[in-house]
Symmetry: D3
Subunit: 102 residues, 6 copies
C-alpha cells in the first residue's frame, strides 16, 4: 500500500466510518471532565492506598472518555466556519500546532 | 464550569491522560485500514445475507480502530514541524479545515 | 458459596465497586436516547442495505449506553426519598415490577 | 424532549435493546464475585507494590462484570412473581429502597 | 527487536499479564455458547430484517466472549497433564494442529 | 448440554466467529510488546506515586492487547506446516505444553 492509497484510505474513513446520527453535545465531554476533577479531589483528600489506586483507575477511564468526546467533536462536528469564528478551538483540541516541541 | 475552566480542563487532559509510553507506529492504522479493504472486497463478492452482515460488523469495528490509531498520531505524535514539512497531514487526519461544508 | 455469602457479596459490591466520583447527570442518557431516535429515523428513510446495517449497529451501541447510564442512575443515584416523591422512577427504570409477565 | 417522551424512550428501550436470547444464568455473576474475593485475598497477602496495583485493577474489572451480570438479571430476568416470592431480591440488587440515605 | 527478544517478550507475558486470580470455570464459555445457539435459532425463525440484523450482532458478540473464555482456559488453565489425559483438548481449542490446511 | 455438544460448539466457533478478513500481521503484537517495555522502563525510573500507578494501568492494557494479537495468530493464522517448520511457536504462544507444572 503506497502513500497515495494510504491517503485514499484515510479520506475514505471520513465518509464511511460514522453513520453519522447527527447528535453532538459538548455535555458529554463536560460531564467526564467534571468527573475527573471530582475524582482528583477525592484522591488528594484520601490517604487510603486502595481508595487512591481506585481513584486513579476511575480518573484515567473518565479522562479517556473526555478525550474521546472531544475527538468526536473535533473530527466530526466542527466545520471551517467554526474554526474561523473561534480560532481557540484548534488549540483546545490538542492539535500539533498547540503542542510545545518535545 | 465556565468557558475558562473548560479550556483549562481540555489543556490539562493533554498533560495527564497519556503516560505516554512513546511508541507510535503508523503500522497499526495501516493494518486496520487494510483489514477494512479486504473485508469490503469479501462483502462485495458474497451474496450470503449472514456473511454480509458479519462483514459490515467487522469492517465497522476495524474502521473504528483505524480512526483511533490516526487520532492518537494526530493528537499525541505530530509536532508543528511535522505539519510544516507535510502540510497534507492536516487534510488527511480529517480536521475541520478539510471537511466540505455540510 | 452459599446464599448468605452471595447476599454478602452483592451487598459488598455496593460499597466497593464505584469510587464514586459523585457526578450523576441525566444528560448522558438523554443524549444517547436522542442518538437512537435520530438513527432509527435515518434507518427508516434509507433503502441502502449497507447504510441500514450500519444504522442498526450504531443504534444498538447507543441503546446499550443509554441503558448503562440509566442503570447507573438507578443503582447509584436514586435514594428512597426520590422514589417516594417520583414513584414512576421504578417503572421507568425497567424493574421487575414494571414488566409484563412473559 | 419533554418528560413524556423521555418516559417513552425508557419504555422503548425495554423492548428494543435486548434480543433477548433468553439465556440467564447466575453463574456468571457468581464466578466474577468469587474472582473478586480471591483477588482481594491475594492483594492482602502480598506486599509487592506492583502486584497490589495489578490486583486492584483486576478486582475492579471483575466487580464491574459482577455488577453488569446482576443488572441484567435485575433488568431483564426477574418478573413480579419472583420478587413476590423472594422479596430480598430487591435489596440484594441494590435498588434505591435498599440504600442508606447519604 | 530481534527474534530472541521477541521470544523473551512472549515468555514474559506469561508471567506478568494475569494476576491470576485462580478462578477458572468452564460455565462461562458454556453460557455464551448456549446464548449463540439460542440466538441462531431466533434468527432462523424470524423474517424481520431488523430483528435478524440484531440477532447477528448479539451472536457475534457472544461468540467473541465464548472464544475469549476458551482462550483463557487454553492459555492459563490447562497443564501438560490435562492434555495427556484428554488429548482432544488440543483439537477442541482450535490449535494449528486441528485446522485443515487452507 | 453434554460433552459431545460442547465439543460441537467449540468446533463450530472455528467456523463462524471470524470473518476472517485474512489480514494477519505480527507487527500488532510487536508494537504492544514494545509499549509494555517502554512503560516498564518509565515506571522503574519514576518515583511519583501517581505516575507509577498510571504506568501499571497502561502496561496491563497493552499486555492484554499483545496477548490478544498473539492469540489471534495462534488460533487463526498458524497452520500445521508452520508448527512443523518452527516448533518453537508452540512454546512461544503459551500452550499447556510450555507451562511449568503449578
Amino acid at each position: 500500500m503506497n502513500a497515495g492509497s494510504t491517503a485514499q484510505t484515510i479520506r475514505n474513513r471520513l465518509r464511511h466510518c460514522d453513520l453519522p446520527c447527527g447528535i453532538y453535545d459538548p455535555e458529554q465531554a463536560r460531564i467526564e471532565a467534571e468527573s475527573c476533577y471530582k475524582t482528583i479531589e477525592k484522591y488528594n483528600s484520601s490517604s487510603d492506598e486502595h481508595f487512591r489506586a481506585r481513584a486513579i483507575l476511575v480518573k484515567e477511564e473518565r479522562a479517556e472518555l473526555a478525550k474521546h468526546h472531544i475527538d468526536v467533536l473535533w473530527s466530526d462536528y466542527f466545520k471551517p466556519e467554526h474554526v474561523q469564528k473561534h480560532p481557540e478551538i484548534t488549540e483546545l483540541a490538542g492539535t500539533p500546532r498547540s503542542r510545545p516541541r518535545r
